[in-house]
Symmetry: D2
Subunit: 408 residues, 4 copies
């Protein structure tokens, strides 16, 4: 992209695919360095997966969608793994049930690392041969897929450690979000605009087709909502006023007793604390709020006399260079339900199950987060989660209808 | 409306508000004529309400939002009813829990009918006095509200009777859907178009504001999918091919063992039968299919190499006069998640809880059904239900992206 | 019985079986006199049944186990009823699921009363003919069975009305339990003793065989624990001291928030109130406590430095004439798990499912309650309920190991 | 014991308490030798605990009930462990919830082994000093407690590995149950008898007081029911005949689809297989059946025209030397609900929570199993589990009422 917004999605210097593959795979192994084998086997909730499973499943992806078909005489590492490490591909046959991923004490971490080595060696052979356009595109998908699981691994470890009475730190040096000033609304005049991905660079299937849409004039905040603003919402009884909430959200917070973002915990002496990858910490009022559900984001926006942006508004504003904290702090809830763009067709192979079959009862989040793999995002990137999920590093950016200047 | 499509939304000869009030209220009482007191007290599932509750709640609505404030010296019929018959208005205080509506054996049907009489007499007084614009709009809302509950009452009775081992008929003379020919795709060229309600006539708040949107060229079927087409889908293994289904839909049909529309029942000797307001009947292959979930509608469309229309496409096609079976057969699932139109603001009073707080995880259905109250719908009408619900009289109409003529 | 205790089980003047049949059946109809049809169709929880169902099921029992086989040319009233009104007899084929008894709005009360009339007329014919021993025993079982359902009907109506926001009275004249003095421990010296039913009079199968058992010396209270004693337990933190409770009981009261007997309700102004068949009333401290679970009874006994009696102790004490409030106030939890007496064999026909198949995870209650049908009980009578049930009219009588006189 | 039956409860040559402590603790460490750290952290169901937790909890028991009070200047190893490794002692304060034991990835196995070493060193000091009677009795309790957890550890590992798609063996050399002949009924004439523990040797509190009870004459099988006999029950439709089952058992097998003992699995080619500590194996028809619920045991006995023994019958027969396979194959379901013996009083300290608070809705099992620690059992030993549990190594031994010789 050549627009000013593209800075936040800067691409590093060109690398060969093999260099990129090795660097990305090596990052996964760095991510588990602080973990013991015992940390890597446990599944802390049905949404989460053991770290070991992430390490194996991403490897299974390369074996299944690339090596098996594209590399002559590729020797399958272990025939059981097709069953153990398939995530959700119906077309590939039966699989180990998701809620039971935490029961797989065998194979052990060592064997999973051996699996990675085996696949990496054969991928190196494949990546050193000439590749068809289709193969190249599958390799790019495999890279992006593992980057997604790198983020999930960090999300899942934070969740696991948050449930430990010892509240262990994953990495006491994990970078902090930089605090900053409060956001300001920036106007955009609307009209016909194009959104979605087009062109030769990699993007997920559901980021396209690029298409025309029509926007009313609107305003959008250049920064994310902060913990300090969230504390003001809480002090004002934000979690106790039914009128601010969607009906389903009001039930949800009643049923679960939610009165603060996930990972926040109140302590008589120390006030509000928060579990992070660095362990328990005091809340920094100037840092962006994270780990909130869609319902909480929508209630806050209501309270602030604003609303969440649509995904088209978000993308238009990002491309126009209006936004800060675009993709390095927290995913940003939009108000748009995840659905197919006009003309979208999923691939007809098993890989076609990647995104299309999840297009219901989920909300698009835009941007990127501090735990997202470097270089993973784009202005057209569409993340999505169900409305009640909070273990994703989610925040919010406000928008509102255009306010006409006085005198009009 | 002056377009050809408006036929299906024909307005009857002008009546006074009082005449309309009486006629609408009287229809509610006609609807319960086939029922015994015992039929009217039971709640067959948490989504459903007892017929008696519908009769009382609609009356409570007029008492609460109109008589209490607008009629001087109005005597509250029974102070307990504010608690018993509030549906979901948080701003009006605590209320009887929805899943326990079926425990209210008292007050009896007779007392509820006395309540209706009391309110009707006072409403007559109110309706014979001059009314402010705001009051008039609330009265219109009360009329439309009771019409909605008339349909719910019929839905709930069908559900209750379907669970009775005796499968009683509600009314053996209840009109049948007329069978007919299969649908044909009609093209619309797209571009900028306006949708949503504007003007002085009544519409629900969420039907507006009228606003501009942009449509790609598309085609839409002029008729609804039939039982015969659905049987072909079933015979082709429609309920057994994971690849046709959204992931959540596939889980849903597995978990519930769904292999046909709701109320269908297979009998060794008589084949497929269906529970209706007329009792059990053989399936008519030429009649439109009804009582399907969003997931089933989407899977069928996938199988048929088509898709569901967006709500904007549906409205544009209806206004353009392209559609038959618009509002007299079955509600039609769109692919659009229920959300606020640009610029939507709910009323700030308790009445503001009518639609806005339900704008999440529901899908817009357009049209109208055979059990919908006469004259209730409009081309801008937005009905909405969660994706898995089937007790609404729901069907589907196919759409697809425009196919370019050969030679281009 | 010739012992003093037998007074409480006095038999009325001899009547013919027909007289007894008519009188018992007529009592059922008197019991529903205060109820509307709407009160009789609703099922307030899975354990409870609609009053209409009780009226029909008891009739079905006579039709199924007597008329069908024993009366030549008996015309079945309605073939559907075999399915609708079977309670739990597996040997008699499929049946309407228990939790869905409240969905049977049809047949209506009128038709159920017609069913009763039909069966009564034919039973009169049967009862006027000579009867074999086996037939006579089945008729006695039918009488006792309907008496049990008369009590269940009252239990279920109280439960239903307790959930109504209106808290309606079933009968404002329903007799009160007579208050009285607190209990005193009476000693019994133990040794070999016989318990259980023998002889020609009717008893349920599981009351026999009469057999020898061995008792340690013990003491038992001559009266039941009162509300006043229970209030002292509550004031002393009885519901908050884990050490008093069985582990499963402690979980149960935590999970359900129980801090008083069922039907008790605390009111800022009026203090402790209780829902009864007479409607809401202030707690009478001198009346026996009722509607407590086994866990509460056991915790109270622990707190009172006593224990619950075994069923053998209870029966021995009752026969010895030591007890007051034997069978006219409340069922009394024993500490004995419901099991077969030595040598017990259930009948091999469907009637054999009456008691034997419930001999697990239930506790024996002895005595009889204020809502028990007159003349229903005996000193050998074994009632039984699961440990957590409270809608039965259950109370407790304390026992303790014999205290040796000083000097020994 | 001097009776012939005592062979099966043989005591090894006298050892000092310290020798016994070391030998017992060392056995725990041998038991985890085949396990990886990953195997030791996972909790496969709420009933089960991670192996690591067993290793730590048993150590916590010695620290909490012995070292803290009895050893001057004992340094607590880690203050967090009081919370982490308390199982269910309410009197000792809050504790980590049982279903979340599998979330404790920290402390790791190494730290738990260090904890064991720390406690063992201090226990050695304690055991080398003179001990009061009370202290000695607590030490004996600690030894017996860890032996119980050794068995639980094996039960829990078998359960975990049975859920692994790889079905790993715990120890391919784990000893097999010796097959043998079918059982024969042996008569006992009944009358007054004494059961329960008395005397100076250690026994759990609930094994006493020794007391008199009365037995009818009965017969009891000298051996356990075999897999072959169980297969005959299955072939005869044992799992499909409602009439054989307790009502709750019939529901349980329907709801869970049980049609064979736990760990049995049918394979088209290999027939019935069973998961064991040695991995998957073919069923040996001559070996005793294991891993059955109380309901299955009772249904089998019904089918075999027999019944389960009472615990008093079992103990009398064991003491009389009538039984084989007493305590080295499988725990044997009795028909006796777990309850206090006459005169039983739990200790008033926290240790008093050991058994008494579980005396409800559980059934006594007698004997001992192949995975029970050597020397752990006695003829008076009362094990107990809820009726539906099958992960205990449970089998059955038949009994029946005495059959009078012909001619009487």
């Amino acid at each position: 992209m050549s627009s000013p917004a593209s800075e936040c999605y800067e691409t590093a210097e060109p690398q060969t695919l093999l260099q990129r593959y090795r660097s990305m795979r090596s990052r996964s192994e760095q991510l588990i360095a602080p973990l013991d084998a015992e940390d890597m086997v446990v599944q802390s909730m049905p949404d989460a997966s053991p770290a070991k499973w992430h390490m194996a499943h991403t490897t299974w992806f390369f074996e299944t969608f690339l090596l098996k078909d594209a590399l002559a005489d590729y020797p399958i590492f272990d025939a059981n793994f097709a069953y153990l490490f398939n995530s959700y591909y119906e077309a590939l046959g039966p699989r180990h049930p998701r809620p039971q991923r935490g029961l797989m004490t065998r194979p052990g971490v060592d064997r999973v690392l051996a699996y990675r080595k085996h696949v990496d060696e054969h991928m190196a052979a494949l990546l050193q041969s000439p590749q068809s356009e289709e193969l190249r595109s599958l390799i790019e998908l495999g890279l992006a897929h593992e980057e997604q699981h790198q983020e999930l691994l960090l999300m899942d470890i934070l969740h696991l450690f948050s449930l430990s009475p010892l509240r262990p730190a994953y990495d006491t040096q994990w970078p902090r979000d930089l605090p900053g000033r409060r956001g300001q609304f920036k106007p955009l005049k609307g009209g016909l605009t194009q959104i979605g991905h087009a062109g030769p660079d990699f993007a997920f299937d559901h980021e396209g087709p690029r298409h025309t849409t029509y926007l009313q004039p609107f305003e959008i905040s250049d920064r994310l909502v902060t913990n300090g603003e969230w504390l003001a919402f809480m002090r004002d009884g934000g979690y106790r006023q039914a009128g601010l909430w969607l009906s389903a959200g009001w039930s949800l917070i009643q049923d679960n007793g939610w009165d603060a973002p996930m990972y926040w915990q109140h302590d008589e002496q120390q006030g509000w604390q928060c579990m992070t990858l660095r362990g328990m910490e005091a809340i920094d009022p100037d840092a962006p709020v994270t780990h909130i559900s869609y319902y909480e984001a929508a209630a806050f926006a209501h309270w602030a006399d604003a609303r969440l942006p649509t995904e088209a508004e978000w993308e238009a504003a990002a491309v126009a260079g209006l936004l800060e904290q675009v993709d390095d702090v927290a995913w940003q809830w939009t108000q748009t339900a995840f659905n197919a763009y006009p003309g979208f067709r999923p691939a007809s192979s098993a890989v076609g199950e990647y995104n299309g079959k999840f297009m219901i009862n989920q909300i698009v989040l835009r941007g990127g987060a501090s735990n997202t793999s470097p270089g993973h995002c784009r202005a057209t990137y569409r993340n999505f989660f169900p409305t009640e999920k909070r273990w994703v590093c989610s925040g919010l950016r406000l928008a509102r209808d255009a306010r006409l200047p006085e005198g009009l």
